[in-house]
Symmetry: C2
Subunit: 176 residues, 2 copies
């Protein structure tokens, strides 16, 4: 691995208090995305642990995960697979629901999104409670993908999302 | 420009009849996204006309536009600016509404999404009626971006979306 002075990516993330609701501090990654060097370095470093490991597809979770997954896929020379909210994909899907604070949400991916046994990397912006990632992993396993890792930009450690995705090689560039 | 035999990107796009409603033929780009070489070539060719023109930010329209905008941004060495559906962005936004078949929808971008006068390229997957692109362009102009072009993967010529975005250098890789 090349030793270069890494950018301080955390300095590009802005805390926004009380969004989406009172008491929550939202991690706004848009300043990081808007900076060409920070964005390039972000996706390069999110891809780095899986370089040369034969990843065929990078699955990204709608919507912010799409921005990062597309970049990581290009860095790895892989395709990109959208894991979408319910009703957005036009062909036969596998679906998994997960709990939100109020009610549930559902993610879907096409049943033929990747070949059986293909090495897949899951990408999302934030590991929070882990519910979203867990649902996405369930779908990818049903598709027949061999999920070799999960790459997050941010991990909110205090929410213990890692407990929900045990057994997967999960990494995050920035931890809170 | 290097003369190489271009891939037939159209062959990766699947027609899905009656989605999202009866009588509509949906252009499913997920097979193109999932193929590493096709995806790389797609974003490279979407970026090509603006190479070396000093684009600072590539604006992508939620959600499918995010996948392409991120890739085009990396190819151009630019940052990426998300243009999102209403209520998703945490800080002060400019918003524009546009008509759908039933009712209206609203797009938003952060007011400080790019510096005043910065060269911006707008990216989306499909140019259909042009309403979405028109709304996004209105927002980018209010932010102070200097929109130098619009890059689509697909143009549905029969819907005459170009009429709504006159005066912009709009390109599409694939026309129907």
């Amino acid at each position: 691995m090349t030793k270069t002075s890494a950018m301080d990516l955390k300095s590009f993330i802005e805390d926004v208090p009380d969004f989406p609701q009172k008491g929550v501090i939202f991690k706004d990654i848009t300043p990081l995305l808007a900076d060409a060097k920070a964005f390039d370095e972000t996706v390069r470093r999110m891809a780095e642990p899986w370089e040369g490991s034969g990843i065929l597809a990078v699955a990204g979770i709608e919507s912010r995960g799409f921005l990062l997954a597309a970049g990581v896929a290009l860095k790895l020379g892989a395709g990109v697979v959208p894991v979408r909210k319910r009703g957005k994909l036009p062909r036969a899907v596998y679906a998994e629901s997960y709990s939100l604070e109020y009610g549930t949400a559902t993610l879907e991916a096409h049943q033929d999104a990747c070949p059986n046994g293909a090495k897949v990397l899951l990408v999302d912006d934030v590991l929070a409670t882990g519910g979203t990632a867990q649902a996405a992993l369930g779908i990818l396993e049903r598709i027949g993908g061999r999920v070799v890792g999960v790459s997050f930009l941010i991990e909110l450690g205090f929410l213990k999302g890692r407990d929900r995705i045990k057994g997967y090689d999960a990494r995050a560039l920035i931890a809170y």
